[in-house]
């Protein structure tokens, strides 16, 4: 049964990231000077760093691009597409200089992993581009100011993050609102203007990620809101077995308590037993076993505090467990 579940994004504080000991891709290796960018005009087709590849499609004929650019632009003031490479934060995540800018309107914007194994992406930091942010805040000649003429329009700008494994879409997606004006109280309306961590482990092991935009400001010619966003500090778990099926969701398999101290219970509601594996953040197998129908008490008594992942043989994805 194909399951498609949209998870509510868990926004964690910057201090919380210290828990993660995984590989972090921060784009600083491109060595860009301040206020410069790479937009694919060298026709390389994209940007490789660590083991990821950010696709770029640059048209020489039309001097235009889609996909990804790498940027150190700091302009948080200038609206419009002439400032399409800047993040509204004026820097990369955690004060760094370099970040990636995603632009796409056809759903083909992807990040792929260059090695043959799948990855669990713990998450990354995301924020609005200056172009999209100021367009939603003030409106422009094409796109509306969010809230509309009255200020009450329930506008939104949503990014749907999806994982692929062996060319197939994984079961889950993660939704992140780059702007949300759907609140009854307009004072709660927001447009993201800080680097915000988006947790993606729920997508499970994937070999590529794709990004699809949704906006309330849409017409026959597509979305009017500028389809840009910025990404930094992509945090990867080490490679895991390619036989692992991604896409499992903790909303389908109850795990409690979570966070746990020494043990936790898994409610296995299916009629047949299934093997399970628990990995640590380094991708090492900590525990293996069989899930029997009903409740299964599992112990990680001798393991250090931190994040672990439970993977079930025939089920997609991984369940995040926190030992505290």
């Amino acid at each position: 049964m194909k399951q498609f579940i949209t998870l509510t994004v868990l926004l964690i504080s910057l201090s919380g990231t210290s828990l993660f000991a995984q590989t972090t891709i921060d784009f600083e290796s491109f060595g860009l000077e301040a206020d410069t960018f790479l937009n694919g005009s060298d026709l390389s087709g994209g940007f490789s760093t660590e083991n990821i590849f950010l696709k770029n499609d640059y048209s020489v004929d039309f001097d235009s691009w889609v996909g990804w650019s790498i940027s150190t632009m700091r302009d948080t003031i200038t609206p419009g597409f002439t400032n399409q490479y800047a993040a509204i934060t004026g820097s990369g995540a955690n004060g760094s200089a370099t970040y990636a800018v995603g632009y796409d309107f056809s759903g083909s914007n992807v990040i792929t992993f260059t090695d043959s194994t799948s990855q669990i992406v713990e998450g990354f930091f995301i924020t609005n581009s200056t172009y999209a942010y100021l367009s939603m805040l003030n409106g422009d000649s094409f796109a509306k100011r969010f809230g509309g003429e009255s200020g009450d329009d329930p506008d939104f700008f949503l990014l749907s993050l999806r994982g692929y494994k062996d060319g197939a879409l994984t079961a889950d997606s993660v939704s992140f609102y780059l702007a949300d004006y759907r609140f009854e109280n307009n004072e709660e309306d927001y447009i993201v203007d800080e680097w915000t961590f988006v947790e993606l482990a729920a997508l499970g092991a994937v070999d590529s990620l794709s990004f699809v935009f949704y906006s309330s400001d849409e017409g026959s010619f597509g979305i009017n809101t500028p389809l840009y966003f910025c990404v930094d500090d992509i945090q990867l778990m080490p490679a895991i077995s390619s036989s692992t099926t991604p896409g499992l969701s903790s909303s389908l398999i109850p795990a409690y308590p979570n966070p746990f101290r020494n043990s936790f219970t898994i409610g296995w509601e299916e009629s047949r037993s299934q093997p399970f594996t628990i990995l640590n953040l380094q991708g090492q197998v900590i525990k293996k076993g069989i899930l029997e129908p009903g409740e299964n008490l599992l112990e990680l008594r001798n393991q250090p505090e931190g994040i672990y992942y439970l993977m079930v043989g025939t089920k997609a994805g991984a369940i995040k467990l926190i030992k505290s």
């Binding site: 235009s64 419009g80 056809s106 003030n138 422009d140 009255s150 400001d217 026959s220 010619f221 597509g222």
Partner: protein, 629 residues
Amino acid sequence: MKQHILFSILIIYSLSLFAQTEGDHTFQLEEVDIEAVSIRQEQLIGEEWRFDSLDLARASHQSLADLLQRETNAYIKSYGLGSLASISMRGAGANHTAIIWNGLPIENPMLGQTDLALLPLVSIDQLRVHPGGNSAAWGSGAVGGSLSLDNIPSLHEGLSVTSSHLLGSFGKQAHATEFSYGKETWSSETSWYQLSADNDFTYQLLNGKERQNTNGDIRNWGLLQEIYFSPSVNHQLSATVWFQDTDRNIPPTTTQNESLAFQADRALRATLNWKTHVKRNLLSLQTGFSEESISFQDKAIRLVSDSKVQRWVQEINLSRQVREQWTYEFGYQYQYVRAEADGYQNMHDRHQHAVFANGRYQDETWIIDIGARQEVADELFYPLCPRVAASYSFLSGLRAFGAVSRNVRIPTLNELYWSPGGNPELKAEKSWNQEVGLAWEKQTATTSLSYQLTYYQRQTRDWVLWALQESLPFWSAVNLSEVHTRGLSQQLNWGLSGNTWKIDASGGYEWVQSVHTSSLQSPRIEENTQLFYVPQHKAHLSLRLSWQAWQFQYTHTYTSGVETFSTPLPSWQVGQLFLSYRWRMLEGILRIDNVWDSSYRIIERRPMPGRAIETGININLKSLNMSNL
């Protein structure tokens, strides 16, 4: 390019030599008793909306867009007061109307259209609106209809000076002065006009609150020089030069906090025309030049986008009347277009040749027009465009008419070359137009009444749309759609006059259904849905009263709702009042636009102004004796 121009000049020059040889004799010829006319200049079959100088004077210091919206069935898509305005005739698009100034095309070749807000009525003496396709006469773009804007020589001898000044709401000021001088063989007219407006009107938002329009001011001035020289009754030489300069700020949309956008439009247009009548022949040689530049700037987004397009047109046209009933004409036109734009990667040019032929049979009951035009652009032959039209008069004042024509629109330079998305492989749009109609007219010494009903349909193939294609990561121009159009147009005129008074009423109503015959994904268009910004219904009614020195006119316009790119717009209606009083050489006018203070929008998120009052004075000094000056 040189070869093309040289070729064209040689043809025209050699023909003019031939004509001159003939002309050497014609100077000694007896007075011409039967004049041949250019068939395409005198459309006799089908709909026509004609506005003479008196009609245009009532709308002085307004634009062509204002008049057409108010007093014809054409639909004007206006971005707001003084902002870009384009025309849709018979359910066609903005670049499906040929705009002809003194016989030469003036639509911008980059855009395939002309901003009608930048065509002030003070710059022309006559306007004729011809709905219906006629590429056989006017070539590419004459699909939905054609507009003929003409300057006409004054018949007045001596010096005359007219000057008009107007003040209005929203900081509007307009001034125009014309000097004309005529003698036996020549006349000269020099016109200068200037308009400025703040356009700081207040409009209503959707939640009922009010907001003031900002950054909407416009400054426009122009200079028009006409010279007419007739050495004999058989010869006329005319030269016209028209320069216009417009600076416009572009206001924010209703969902935009602020706009710093600005656009400057400069246009220089010139024509030189020589006509000679030789017995039953009319030979016309015409050359024209135009240069239009548009500079768009937006300080907020640090964008400057400039474009400039130049066009040379040369045309030779020979009309010949054979016996009483038959007239035919042959013509050749050469156009050279050269365009530069920041949106182009290189300069682009186009050589366009056209040959055309028309024949007309006319007697007391029948008028039959047969014509065809072949266009060749950059050695590419576009489809032959024939047109057959006939009119038959029967009973008393009744007339039935019909026409069939094939029409084309050659892609604009932007559709071909704009970066990104321009597609040099685009084909021309091709359409077949059919129309039938019935007209009735009755006239007595004191009354006149006429009514015309026209049904038309049009099938357009290879309609160009900007669309997403799988292979390209941006919107690009493609021959994507087929559009089927059908409609019903009605026109009514009534007049009653007495010794010191006159009442006129005129009205029109048009129903049009113009739909894509199949659904599209990007842009998202459902099958059989109306084209964007093409209303299904439009109606207007004008009532004019003249009594002694007073003139009064009320015009009411209704336009049904339109499909837009996102949210449909509701219908709207506006009224306009005009009052004038003439005393000797002076005339005072009062005009109230949008008299009922309607809140409406023609373009989504672009508000239109509420009630606006204008008052002005016209001074008409004629028969001034030069020696007294």
